[in-house]
């Protein structure tokens, strides 16, 4: 870490870019630290997190149901794949202008974007997780008299869960990114993105832009780590799959 920071200060000093637009690391670190106690800033962050969380809360159950359906039936998958292949390449950010028109610039449009982004990322993981379930185990369960729902509940879902959870983690990171992107482009009233743009366009001091970016990075890491911890506590069997 020390070396990298030293490199940063060297580059910053040698590049000749003014200190105002390319701040030195020490100042950025101290600002990042002070942001953690800045109520105004934290309220903005909370707003972004709220959009991401609401979006994820809607996406996860919906995607699970659709993904399990598409993953269990090859016919359904092959029918849906045509549509999926057309929609997937559209970068979600390209829909930001359209989403603003349809949902206004409040929290709704960010939630809509989050849902759209998270849905596709998660869907592929759910489908391939359900498909990857060992057929032998499923047949065994069937032999023991489980019906299709029983097999799904006792065999497919538990063994697909770790991979599904990876999908949720990827989707959560993307959700945060999309919510911030929406705020940066549209503005909106509050949010981490709005906050950063405010400081960037005021042009007085770019330290805050750097500090905000670093904070956003840590936020992403914390969310990721939190989800990993959650995964471990509710699915202890997942480790065995990982280590295998």
């Amino acid at each position: 870490v020390g070396l990298v920071l030293l490199g940063w200060s060297l580059i910053a000093n040698l590049s000749g870019v003014s200190e105002r637009s390319f701040p030195r690391p020490l100042e950025v670190i101290s600002r990042t630290f002070s942001l953690c106690f800045d109520m105004e800033f934290l309220l903005n962050v909370l707003e972004t997190l709220k959009a991401a969380a609401i979006g994820m809360a809607i996406t996860v159950p919906v995607t699970l149901v659709i993904g399990v359906a598409l993953g269990s039936s090859y016919r359904a998958y092959s029918a849906a794949s045509a549509l999926m292949n057309f929609i997937r390449p559209v970068p979600v950010v390209a829909l930001i202008p359209a989403a603003v028109l349809l949902f206004g610039s409040g929290i709704e449009f960010r939630v809509a974007l989050v849902i759209f982004a998270a849905f596709w990322l998660m869907l592929y993981n759910v489908i391939s997780a359900i498909r990857d379930v060992d057929p032998l185990t499923k047949d065994t369960a069937r032999m023991f008299g489980f019906g299709p729902m029983g097999v799904l509940w006792h065999v497919s879902l538990p063994s697909a869960m770790p991979f599904v959870f990876t999908g949720i983690r990827i989707a959560a990171t993307a959700a945060l990114m999309v919510a911030i992107a929406g705020e940066i482009i549209v503005g909106g009233s509050r949010g981490l993105g709005t906050w950063i743009v405010l400081y960037q366009s005021s042009g007085v001091n770019q330290v805050m832009v750097f500090a905000g970016a670093i904070f956003a990075g840590f936020l992403g890491l914390i969310i990721n780590a939190g989800l990993v911890a959650l995964e471990r506590s509710i699915m202890p069997w997942a480790h065995r799959y990982r280590d295998r």
Partner: protein
């Protein structure tokens, strides 16, 4: 265990089913658009006719694409292509280096993870602060954003090469360069390609973002500008254009991957 799914449809039949689904979706969109009757969500045929009238009908040497379409797409390409090229070089190069020289890799890996965790939307104002709003900023932002996921994948691929293969190569007295070109890179190739696909998606996202925020031309700018002037048909047409470009782009990648990695599929098929 073969991954052959149950109840696989014959190809022709599945193609028909796909076509029907696409048609149904189009009809649903059309009906939804007409019923909703708001200018914000136009029916699909209106969008299609906008696309047809504005972007086609150019001279034959332009593949019948009109000048206005080329004016929109070309500036984006001058950012996407160099940015992606630098990104690929940087990602694969640095990833290989990190994988070969483990102490360096272990030292930098947490930093790379952290840089990746900064959402690309936040990187835009960051890069603008340091590099301004010129072409350099756009290309370097695309390059850095695409390099990061690729770097991690390449690192992982190079690091996890089967040690048995490496020992065998050493036994046959392959020079370090030969080892790199004939053993390490080929066996890391599947992971590198997976990384390239992630990077390609990231590149599209960053391209659009950067053109939204700091650009006077390109597809992203076209979409946002159309929205601001309430030319909503043009806005939707821009989204469709982006989807078509992305579709072609990913299709091309798949093709390249299939050609380069044929041996890998073969090997997997034989053992699995």
């Amino acid at each position: 265990v073969s991954p052959q799914p149950h109840g696989k449809l014959p190809n022709a039949q599945s193609a028909i089913v796909k076509l029907i689904v696409l048609c149904l979706t189009a009809i649903a969109w059309e009906a939804g658009g007409r019923l909703a009757d708001t200018p914000f969500f136009p029916p699909i045929t209106t969008i299609a006719s906008t696309i047809a009238s504005e972007w086609f009908g150019g001279p034959g040497y332009q593949l019948f694409l009109s000048d206005s379409l080329i004016e929109i797409v070309w500036p984006s390409m001058t950012r996407l292509v160099p940015g992606l090229a630098f990104g690929l070089l940087l990602g694969i190069g640095a990833g290989t280096l990190f994988g070969l020289v483990r102490p360096v890799g272990d030292m930098f890996e947490p930093h790379i993870h952290f840089l990746r965790a900064i959402p690309s939307a936040v990187k835009v104002p960051l890069f603008m602060a340091v590099l301004g709003i010129g072409q350099d900023m756009k290309i370097s932002l695309i390059a850095v954003s695409t390099a990061l996921p690729l770097l991690l994948n390449t690192f992982d691929g190079v690091r996890t090469v089967d040690p048995m293969l490496l020992d065998t190569a050493r036994l046959y007295r392959l020079s370090p360069w030969q080892r790199l070109a004939c053993v390490i890179l080929p066996s890391a190739a599947p992971k590198i390609f997976a990384g390239i696909k992630v990077s390609a998606g990231v590149a599209m996202v960053v391209l659009v973002l950067v053109e939204f925020v700091a650009s006077a031309d390109g597809i992203g700018h076209y979409i946002l500008e159309s929205q601001r002037r309430f030319r909503l048909l043009d806005m939707w047409a821009g989204v469709v254009l982006l989807a078509v470009l992305g579709y072609c782009f990913f299709g091309l990648l798949e093709l390249v991957e299939r050609r380069v990695l044929t041996w890998h599929r073969g090997a997997r098929g034989a053992t699995g």
